[in-house]
Symmetry: C2
Subunit: 230 residues, 2 copies
Amino acid sequence: MCNEKNAYTLILASASPRRKEFLEHLNIPFEIKTMSIKEETDCTLPDEIVLDLAKKKGIAVFNELQRLKDQKEKNSNFADSFFPLIVAADTLVFLGKEQLGRPRDALDAKEMLKKLSGKQHFVYTGVYIVCFDIEKNMQRERSFYCKTEVDFAHITEDFLEEYIKSGESMDKAGAYGIQGSALSFISGIKGSYSNVVGFPLYEFVVQLKDFLGCRDDNEGEWRKKFKRTK
Amino acid sequence: MCNEKNAYTLILASASPRRKEFLEHLNIPFEIKTMSIKEETDCTLPDEIVLDLAKKKGIAVFNELQRLKDQKEKNSNFADSFFPLIVAADTLVFLGKEQLGRPRDALDAKEMLKKLSGKQHFVYTGVYIVCFDIEKNMQRERSFYCKTEVDFAHITEDFLEEYIKSGESMDKAGAYGIQGSALSFISGIKGSYSNVVGFPLYEFVVQLKDFLGCRDDNEGEWRKKFKRTK
């Protein structure tokens, strides 16, 4: 349907190096564009909170890119062939009803890990996809969330000190990353692993294929809808 | 109990870069020493197979290091202060009763992934710990295994081709690595994540502390039993 000119440019609306790394596995060139938003929501349920925050991040980038595109078209009197498809995500850790985001500082990180020590918690990621549909000539969006159960063993005081000092807690929801030395106190998980890292890759591919109206068993079909070069 | 002179040297009896990376998370210096063994066993059950192969790998390295130590002591007439504590592991993928090891070549990798596509399988890692106990003056060993459930979505033919071409299948049991682009077809796991990578880190720490007779809540105690410098 789409030739290279008439294809989407994949935009990741996140500065997370881990989300970037995961999206790279899909072998589609993408760009990173983020907008600073207030990470606030009126929602109260875990799934609603991450979905709302992901949407806020995604919409901010979409609107900005549309504004720039409109401006360009106005100045040149030609239709711009840039069609961004934006992907935004928000990941939070929930211990019962308590929400744990990124720690403010080392002390905050320590408090979070003390709370999580020896307990089971859930990691939620909300994902939001938005584009101006090239074929249907309208704005379209899609949201989904993913939930993974994570079991922590008891974290000893000494290890906690070491872990905080290592700096691995910073910039991660719940003050830990499953990729690093936290593995020595993570006794098990149930569900998507990539979701715990911050981006449910398998679920994203399934949703994206469906969003683009492509058959699940044809890799070529959905990939062709994206620009192959940056 | 042990001063720096009278402490263990941690030896990883595996050439796997992923096991090395995981062990590095423990912040104890270690050396890598491997011996070539025939990876054959008379065992038939998954847990028994990985335990037997891990032991074979570990014992080969232990015996070789003891031989070198004896030789050194014989020549110098002094007791050598090198006390190796060896850790060996073996990881296999089981699809029902069928055992999937490392693929021989790209064709073999493709066959394995086709078998695993759309199905649930189990990853087993057997871990073997052996040392000449400094305090008890005797050879001591410990074995345990870890089992994780992994769910694969359907892998499309196109993606399979790409994945094989990427080379990620090679040198990995079951022809996939959970760290890479396989995440786009791994729909979920249940149990230890590090076990799927090839070394159950949390379980190892628990077992090692107990093996060394150390309390679970004191990080300092078990770490002191190892040499802090290489």
